[in-house]
Amino acid sequence: MSSLAAETALPARLDARGMSQRAMLALSAGLMAINSSHHPITAAISLPLLGLALAGRARSAWPWWLAALAWAPFASFGWDRFEDHVYLGWMWLLAVGIALSGPDDEFWERLALSARWLLGVTFAVAAAWKWATPEFWSGATFEFLVLDDSRLHVPFLAPLSGLGLARVEANAALLEGLRAWNGGEGAVALARGPRLGWVLGALVAWTLAIETAIAAAFLAPDRSRLARLRHPALLAFLVSVYAFLPVAGFLVALVTLGLAVGRGERRWLALYGLALVALGGTALVRALS
């Protein structure tokens, strides 16, 4: 039983391992198969690893280390083809190799430790950028994002800001006009809804709070009170971000690492699995509609 579970004294039924080592290995290899969509030639690394993992033949550290090594030239020299979560996945290959290099009964402990540090570092860097950027604080970044990304217009910006869809679309057309090859060089006035300032303020406050909380919770020692926030904070982040802006690679990476920190226990498998299915399903429905 993990030390964290011991502290929280959960019923044994919930504490039981719900996920096999083989399933975790298949999910980890699947993550890199998704990441290969950024640079299709890397599928030559990811798909054989996924095949081995699905067949239960990737229980030695070597396939993972070799895959991490094979990704190195692509990640190092093809950086402008990869988003940041691909690097998180790349380091996860190394982490799985390290976890498999020890005794079998230490697999989940090693994996959980690597996942915890990787999540802590990822969110610490993300939060640090936002704390250090005045345009983020002022709401300017989010004002641009909600205007630029049409996925946010109907479910988010138009109703919450009080601007209405017609004026949101008129603002978006002004933005498109400026970016056009023959667009103007002067500033354009944007219509602003009565509640836009509140919406932007809430977005800024929530993002800073949740990213900082996740970084602190995952970097804090296992026995600290902050550690109890790990899964609730990560799940809240997943739902609040990926319900609106689905990024499959990052979603699967965070679910994989969250499950690893939870040592594959049944309760975390249920919650992260539900989040993955619900958010992935929502993204699919929106993409098809």
């Binding site: 030390s3 950086w79 402008d80 990869f82 988003e83 940041d84 690097y87 998180l88 380091m91 996860w92 190394l94 982490a95 390290i98 976890a99 290099s101 020890g102 230490e106 402990e109 090693r110 994996l111 430790l113 690597s114 540090w117 990787l118 802590g120 570092v121 990822t122 860097v125 993300a126 950028w129 936002k130 250090a132 950027t133 345009e135 983020f136 300017a140 970044t141 989010f142 004002e143 641009f144 994002l145 205007l147 630029d148 990304d149 002004l174 933005l175 400026l178 970016r179 090859w181 023959n182 667009g183 103007g184 060089e185 002067g186 500033a187 354009v188 006035a189 944007l190 602003r192 993002t207």
Partner: protein, 154 residues
């Protein structure tokens, strides 16, 4: 609980990721690299000046002066590269790709090709990277970087 002998190694992936993120932060600050993607920066949604806000304006120099031209499909990779990392070298590559085309003057101005208008003598090219600043109630475009190339003997 006895500390596991595996603990230092388990932290290695996170240490490497932190080192990569640090290098990327340096590139974003020093080289004006796009911060929303393109490497292990983890700076998504922090700065508004990122790939979606960056756009290019292309100009050709003719005997009438500088004239703006529409981008065409063959330029897409060079335009994307210039928006991601607006270095002098990438700007020159984009300008040279523009100058490698033949242009004709049609009723709507200059366009690439050799038919449908009078051939135009091009003397040089100027590529500009623009970005957008959001101020309360307005969107302000501003020029970030300009690279100019002239045709030898043009």
């Amino acid at each position: 609980m006895r500390p596991s002998p595996s603990r230092p190694w388990a932290a290695l992936p996170a240490l490497l990721l932190a080192a990569m993120a640090g290098l990327q932060a340096l590139r974003i600050q020093v080289q004006d690299l796009n911060s929303w993607a393109d490497g292990p920066g983890f700076a998504m949604f922090a700065k508004p000046d990122a790939l979606p806000a960056r756009f290019t304006r292309l100009h050709l120099e003719t005997e009438r002066g500088l004239e703006r031209v529409a981008p065409f499909a063959g330029l897409d990779p060079a335009i994307h590269a210039w928006r991601v990392l607006p270095s002098e070298a990438r700007g020159r590559r984009l300008a040279d790709a523009l100058l490698a085309e033949a242009f004709v003057r049609g009723p709507d101005g200059l366009r690439p090709g050799t038919s449908g208008g009078a051939p135009e003598r091009v003397l040089g090219a100027q590529v500009e990277l623009w970005s957008l600043r959001v101020e309360p109630g307005r969107l302000v475009p501003y020029r970030k970087r300009v690279v100019r190339r002239e045709l030898a003997g043009g």
